[in-house]
Amino acid sequence: MNTKIKKKLIPYILLLPSLSIIVLLFLGGLIIALTQSLGYFPLIGLNNISLEYFRGIFNDEQFISSLGYTLYISVVSSTLSVIIGVLLAYQLLKLPKENKFISTIYKLPIIVPHAVGSLIIFIIFTQSGSLSRIFYSFGFIEDISSFPRMVFDPWGIGIILVYLWKQIPFVALMVYTILRGINSSWEGAALNLGANKRQIFWNIYLPLSMPTILSSFIIIFAFSFGAFEIPFLLGPTNPRTLPVLAYHRYTSLNIQQRPYAMAILITIAVISTFLIILYKKVVDLSRI
């Protein structure tokens, strides 16, 4: 009996250190943020729980345009990253000879920090950047100001480009690993039965790698939705992305702004949580 209980306890003991860290720091932090967003913040004299701050931000035009801007950047950058990443992974797989150099070097942007990625995109795409110089030498533009603004711009082109640069290799790496593990005899069987290359891609490789493609989409989408560094460095002052907006409210000299900052952060967390649920549903469905 005693050893049986002991055996049952083993997995919990093994999990205890990790769980304590995540519960104390992550869950604890989230709960504090939630209570403050609901207006419970005794330190600054707020004791009444209400939805006042959520009502406040959802009636705030700046917040609404930030929400739209953040969603737009995440949707565009994640969708393009996944499409180009899958294309790269599939073409890498189908190269007649495996090219060790190419299949190693494409991963380099993954290890490059976001601040460095931002610098690179700035150097190339700013109005005095490399691309503008190339355009000038070809005679496409006549002076520096006729080059379109591509960083600090309201369309978020600079921000999206950094995400693309970092995330295309990430998606390619995840998908390539899965594609390589797919049994190639299925492809042979399909060829024997008269399938063409396109049918093989759409009916064999794509469905089998779908769970990985979807999970990499969710990971990069959630990351770009909650990331601070890149939009802070390359984004315009208006509109700001949600994390940058929350940061400005949080560091505001007026401490009464804090609950609003927390309400913005909780909104980000809720949208991301919704993504997890969606993700679980999608992955479960694709396993059937």
Binding site: Q91, I120, S130, K197, F228
Partner: protein, 266 residues
């Protein structure tokens, strides 16, 4: 057939070139003295930015060391607590498993920003703010889920058949762990360590918030340079950054290859 291959090579080379060329431009900026618009190449090359970097006054050595201490501590703690946790998740069935797994992996999807701003006040209260230990703790939030995810996959692939055999043959748990488990999961440890090291080493926002400007990591020096658009100096810092990470990967790989314990498993 040849046409298809030509198209394939074109696609692959174009994408890879677009990914890698920017790094070469970065390298040129680090050596440029004067490079005004619309010149395609620098009109003057200089080592000034590199000299500033290596000048002790710039404080870069100290910052690099601080970053390394933090990143290595985060890596060791993350891997240390992830190995048992991932083993439990992969090889045991128990009550509440799905919930626990979801909670442990949640920071991958739910941005750590909210949690960090939430605990910020408590960190100040308990004296963790502005301290290296506080920064290490807060870096664990984004790092730990990734090492658990990677090691969980590893344990799922490895199973526990061989460990059970060792136990049957009379090995105690410590012997089993050192001679059987560790060698079996070393690829996972390698990938997870790289991932965690990079997450911690590149972290800006969490360090800035919890470190309160008193924990000066390498990113703390780099970020303002990028912000001000100081291209040559920022390029130097960026290149050192990338090289540091590559060196870490190479060292880790050689440790995992040479270590006697790991050799036992080959």
């Amino acid at each position: 057939m040849d046409l298809i291959n030509t198209i394939r090579y074109t696609i692959v080379y174009t994408i890879v070139a677009l990914l890698i060329l920017p790094l070469i431009i970065l390298l040129m900026w680090s050596f440029s003295g004067s490079w005004p618009w619309p010149h395609l190449l620098p009109i003057e090359f200089t080592l000034d930015s590199w000299a500033y970097f290596f000048n002790p006054i710039s404080g870069t050595g100290r910052a690099l060391l601080t970053s390394l201490i933090i990143a290595i501590a985060v890596t060791v703690i993350s891997i240390g607590v992830s190995i048992p946790a991932s083993k439990a998740l992969a090889l045991y069935s128990f009550w509440g498993k799905d919930m626990i797994k979801l909670l442990l992996l949640a920071p991958i999807i739910v941005p750590p920003l909210a949690a960090t701003m939430g605990i910020h006040m408590n960190f100040i209260k308990y004296g963790l703010s502005g301290q290296i230990i506080g920064v290490i703790l807060v870096h664990l939030i984004p790092s730990l889920p990734y090492s658990i995810m990677i090691l969980n996959h590893t344990f799922e692939g490895v199973g526990n058949k061989i460990e059970e055999q060792a136990a049957v043959l009379g090995a105690n748990w410590w012997q089993t762990f050192v001679y059987i488990t560790l060698p079996l999961i070393k690829r996972g440890i390698f990938s997870a360590s790289i991932m965690v090291f990079i997450i911690s080493f590149s972290q800006y926002f969490l360090t800035f918030l919890i470190g309160g400007g008193r924990v000066v990591t390498f990113t703390m020096l780099l970020f303002p340079l990028v912000e001000r658009g100081n291209r040559s100096l920022a390029a130097v810092y960026s290149i050192v950054f990338i090289i540091s990470i590559l060196i870490f990967i190479v060292i880790l790989e050689s440790i995992l290859k040479k270590d006697k314990i790991f050799k036992a498993g080959i």
